[in-house]
Symmetry: C2
Subunit: 595 residues, 2 copies
């Protein structure tokens, strides 16, 4: 009944036509030979794996959930382990990993498309490799040569999986409060004791070993975030040759009952003198963890993009098939007892909202991934710096804007189904439940907005934002002379001007009162989200206009979707700006007792 | 851990101070003696029942759900039947029913407060009496004297419960397609055959009999909605003295697995030659059903208001207790390891959004209920007509605006909890799942918006809307001279002017193309929602300003919340109006194949 068809044509449009990744990658030595053939093959075969292996396990995994068998043992739903074996056999975990450690070395700009498709297929399943890749990134950046040699090849191959153990019962956002302790041992290892909660993929039966990356405090570490160190704590302590040694003192105490992502084990982990090894420098654990957090945040955006796409596809099918009422302008299917509901304007609004967010976000996110590749591999330092800045600026936007929109989109998909959307059978309510977590974990969307406005924008007096502004200005200048582009360029230029003023205004107010930034941040992030999406929809509209006569229906679809986006979604900025400008007083003047 | 405290003081503020219901009710003969004492007693005792009996069963009911035991037998979760017995013993089902049939005859303006509290306590449970009251309303309006004598006292007492059997697998919104058949019998009864789905409270173990109100077609009935008749189909056919006779041929085939409201049995019902009796005139069943649909739609609004209130209370508690990070303006609880999260501006935004929607909706909904009382009982025909018009105009707004906001509010409450909100344990994710259905059933929110814009506004060339506009204009004129009211009156006046223009504009465009109304309707309804809420927040602000020095902290709280509403929520209208004005083209020009 339900289906997932990998959106290969749209992915190709974004990668080959909009971003021209092959050209961009030519400048990056390790990726210079990534040809279109390779990319298209990864998309096609990866899409097949996600649609044929992961997607069929999505609903059954939600229904069954993970099982806690007692004594730290967790089993995943039926089929999950077999899918993991296929994943390994196909070489999929190695996709974007370093060739030095057994990876295929493909750029993130390609890997991100596979990430999207895994999440369209099965978000809960995709979290197991997702966390593993995060652990890979972190050790790749901060591990000693010995740690890398021991752990990376096994994380790359999918023999072992990884986790991030940050949260404790009394602290999630505020990691400065964390209490887990690490006692140094004579042999250079540490004994780690503490309680962690909300550890995704914390325990399971997919892999023979699990590599936990754990934040804990050394004795006499400074209080707060400057006294946190990072440790490798493997489930089984590996021997130097990689064979498994003793069971370590890190154990799953329970798995949480959650709203969604039932098939991913969210574990409470007890560490009781578990053996661990320091990663990076003492007391610099949070910085080391941030390496993996940026990628993880983009990964969460991809979870929501994946859900948006699959929810859209299914609600579109339903809207074409479900017969209910006649069109307001007269019967469109007079031979049938009623018209398909896609004739109704508001059903179209709900579908096009999903479509515009899916396609706009795809362009935005893939471009961001390309910035990550450039930041890592461009031979020119200035080019690297520019790309780093774009990545730093826009990572919180990918995370928060895409996940807010993903939840909105999943809800609209469900609404298209009417009462049937609320029933488990059709699968739509699962997307709503799964999408909901994405607004919370890896830093709530409020935290993302404070990161954007406080750290990334005001923190450097707008320098990074001005860099993105230059891209927008260049586009406006290039396209502003074309009459057929005015419907896109004019609102974009209008918003770009308003963003500049809004940023200045908030910055000035925040100098006098830091709460002014906190009060405006969430609205501000959505404004920036629309500036970015408006930029990409303008670029896509330009391509579509130029190619619309080619016969490929994609361009007509793109153009219509761009028009919808500017007509119906972009105007949200008018309210957001008003709300952002309204200041902190209406929030802060009310005494706590008057709530 | 979780709690529900009936918001008695705010209810009293709305009923006694804002609406001055005692004075209004003096004009209505059956309610002339409804004194403040009676009202306050109902609120206090009703609140106690909801908080002490219903609320403790809310989470356990969700966890356990209803059970289908096979052969049509459904049992409700543990404690539900006992709560129903207490409900009956306390006389609560009789509250607003006609004294002639055993009711207490209280006005809807009072009953609605009890409805709100039942839903704060337990939405799934409250649906059993909710549907029963709907069946009561329908038979009260359309039943023969014999039908009334037989059924009403038992529905009023809670001995029997009721349902609405409308939806069939192939038709929900489009009842014109329904296929269930009614064959007349020699004795004046009918034999009804068909399949119904999504029948809330369709089968259960709370009461000895269930009175189904079933839509079906007579032989040779005209096609479409003009060929639908309404029938009473009791689970057990009652003898004339009310004792139970034979088990009727109406049986629950299964209960649905749903996203939420697990403790309410959503039944697929098979009717196999079930005995029924016609209610009202042949082929006028839909009109008869509409009597109960208006009350049901307001009831759905009350479900969301109830959830908004209880979710707010709990997220407020959490925000006061959870310590995480320091205030951006320096420590507020220096003696603690971190500040309570209520110091953070965005947490306050999330809390105040819930609060402003809860309190604003309470004023709006209770006022609407008072209009229902006036429409039914005022001796003056013009007064009745005015109230009827307000009720007709604003019922879809109560339904859609309150349920959209209720879902938003439940999600914000959950977000305040961070990761803990996603875990079942804290109860917040249940509110999100429960609140979600309210946007769908009793007519999706899109259907409500078409009812508002198409039927209620454009259908009489804006006459009803102008009536409401006069109330707004009168308020603006009275309060517009007070400088301290300018911050409320000015935006309200601005929006009132814009609504007038917007309505004209859409009306003109819709004359040429009916899809223009369909394209604008959802945005339009939210604009009207804010006009109404802005009107009530302005009235409440005025009262609060006048009484703020009384020492009662309620007035300072009201004033702060009114300021928040106008600063942060009301500006949504700017975007809505732009989007509504953008026209149908961006929705309708795209061919189906290009989606």
């Amino acid at each position: 009944m339900a289906r997932y068809t990998p959106p290969l044509r749209d992915m190709q449009f974004v990668l080959h036509e909009l971003l021209e990744v092959e050209t961009a990658l030519e400048a990056l030595p390790p990726h210079a030979d990534t040809g279109r053939d390779v990319i298209d093959q990864v998309l096609a075969e990866g899409g097949r794996f996600c649609a044929e292996v992961l997607f069929p396990l999505n609903r059954s995994g939600d229904e069954e959930g993970c099982h806690y068998a007692g004594d730290g043992v967790v089993t995943t739903p039926k089929g999950f382990k077999e899918a993991w074996e296929q994943f390994k056999a196909g070489g999929w975990p190695t996709l974007t990993c370093d060739a030095e450690h057994g990876g295929q070395g493909l750029p993130m700009a390609v890997g991100i498309a596979f990430q999207e498709m895994m999440n369209s297929g099965n978000q809960a399943w995709a979290m197991y490799p997702g966390l593993t890749h995060g652990a890979y990134d972190c050790l790749h950046a901060h591990g000693t040569p010995e740690q890398k040699a021991l752990y990376l090849p096994r994380l790359v191959s999918g023999e072992w999986t990884g986790t991030m153990c940050l949260t404790e019962p009394h602290c999630g956002t505020d990691l400065g409060l964390l209490r887990s302790k690490a006692e140094p041992q004579a042999d250079g290892s540490y004994r780690i004791t503490g309680s962690k909660i909300f550890i995704s993929s914390g325990e399971h039966d997919l892999a023979e070993n699990i590599v936990h990356l754990v934040l804990a405090r050394l004795p006499d570490a400074p209080a707060g975030t400057r006294g946190i160190s990072l440790f490798i704590v493997p489930k089984f302590v590996p021997n130097p040759d990689g064979t498994l040694g003793a069971r370590n003192g890190v154990k799953c105490a329970r798995i949480e009952e959650k709203m969604g992502i039932h098939a991913n084990a969210t574990c409470a982990m007890d560490l009781d003198g578990a053996v661990g090894w320091l990663v990076g420098e003492p007391n610099k654990g949070l910085q080391a963890m941030f390496v993996m957090m940026n990628a993880a945040r983009i990964g969460v955006g991809m979870q929501s993009l994946g859900l948006t796409e699959v929810a859209y596809q299914n609600s579109l099918d339903y809207a074409k098939e479900r017969l209910q009422m006649r069109s307001l302008t007269g019967p469109k299917a007079p031979d049938k007892p009623a018209d398909p509901i896609i004739v109704h304007p508001d059903v179209r609004r709900m579908l096009l909202t999903q479509k515009a967010y899916a396609e706009g976000s795809r362009a935005f996110a893939y471009w961001t991934a390309l910035q990550a590749d450039i930041a890592q591999h461009h031979p020119d330092a200035d080019a690297r710096k520019d790309a780093e800045d774009m990545l730093a600026l826009l990572t919180p936007v990918v995370k928060a804007f895409l996940t807010d929109n993903g939840f909105l989109a999943a809800n609209l998909a469900m609404q298209v189904y009417g009462g049937h959307g609320y029933i488990r059978e059709w699968g739509m309510e699962q997307y709503v439940r799964d999408a909901r977590i994405n607004m919370i974990y890896e830093g709530t969307n409020t935290i993302q907005s404070l990161d954007l406005l406080g750290r990334k924008v005001l923190g450097d007096n707008g320098a990074k934002l001005r860099k993105f502004g230059k891209l927008v200005a260049a586009l406006i200048e290039t396209e502003g002379t074309r009459e057929d582009m005015a419907e896109f360029v004019n609102p974009l230029a209008d918003l770009a001007g308003k963003v500049e003023k809004l940023t200045m205004e908030i910055g000035m107010k925040a100098l006098g009162n830091a709460d002014e930034a906190g009060a405006a941040a969430v609205d501000y992030l959505r404004v920036i989200g629309h500036l970015v999406l408006g930029y990409f929809w303008t670029r896509m509209a330009r391509l579509a206009l130029d190619r619309v006569d080619s016969g490929d229906p994609l361009y007509r679809s793109k153009l219509a979707t761009a028009r919808f986006y500017f007509a119906r979604l972009f105007p949200e900025t008018a309210s957001l700006i008003r709300s952002a400008r309204s200041g902190a007083a209406s929030l802060m003047d009310i005494e706590v007792d008057l709530f």
